[in-house]
Amino acid sequence: MIRLLYFARLREALGSVGEELTPQAGLTVEALMQQLAARGGVWAEEFGSGKSLRAAVNQTLAPVKTEIHDGDEVAFFPPVTGG
């Protein structure tokens, strides 16, 4: 299983703080985003429309080609605005 987390504007748009998923072998951040977009509706809007989202794998910012493995924590969120 992988643990998915959504933050800030994305969390509100999806109406979800996160979920658990079983990853296929060789899953990447990019492929996971396509998989989530395929749910349609707000998921397609957020993950499929080229909106700028950032991903983190195991709490480190991750490029879209990053591979995801069983047990990983994967987070999606808008560009950060702290400070």
């Binding site: 987390l5 800030a8 983190a56 709490q59 808008p78 950060v80 605005t81 702290g82 400070g83």
Partner: protein
């Protein structure tokens, strides 16, 4: 190195004293304090809520300070960022860096702030007269960060 993410306010003087006390090898402390403004993009701001990603926030701030330490000969640093409900005039962030000389301390302090603004997982939601809105990331922050990559 001190990294704290907290709802409570902080005392800048006390934090700087803690950083430099019993350290006669320190000759300079450079500090940045961020404050909540009452205006953003032309709209009055009554307050804001700071959300973060517990775990990753601390990890990313530690990594940013480590990068600054690898780059400049600094002795210690403190980074405190507040979360939760904040109002105009509230302090939101403190970055203070101690070194032997001012040049390294100034550079490292600015570097840490520029990376914090673009990499640390915090998000601001503002309260305006028209309702709440998530603050958009600014390209000027990306540009501020990018200049360290050429330096």
């Amino acid at each position: 190195m001190t990294i704290r993410v907290q709802a409570d306010d902080f005392d800048v003087g006390a934090e700087i004293n803690r950083l430099r006390q019993q350290r006669p090898d320190i000759g300079a402390v450079a500090a940045f304090v961020g404050q909540v403004r009452d205006l953003n993009q032309g709209d009055a701001i009554a307050g804001m809520t700071l959300e973060h990603y517990p775990g990753m926030t601390e990890k990313s701030l530690e990594a940013i300070v480590q990068q600054a330490k690898a780059r400049w000969d600094i002795m210690d640093a403190v980074v405190i960022h507040r979360i939760g409900e904040l109002k105009p005039l509230d302090q939101i962030v403190l970055v203070a860096v101690a070194g032997a000389h001012r040049g390294e301390a100034f550079h490292a302090c600015e570097f840490i702030m520029d990376y914090l603004k673009t990499e640390a997982p915090f998000w601001k939601k503002e309260q305006t007269p028209e309702g709440e809105r998530w603050v958009d990331a600014r390209s000027s922050d990306d540009a501020a960060r990018a200049r360290w990559q050429d330096a």
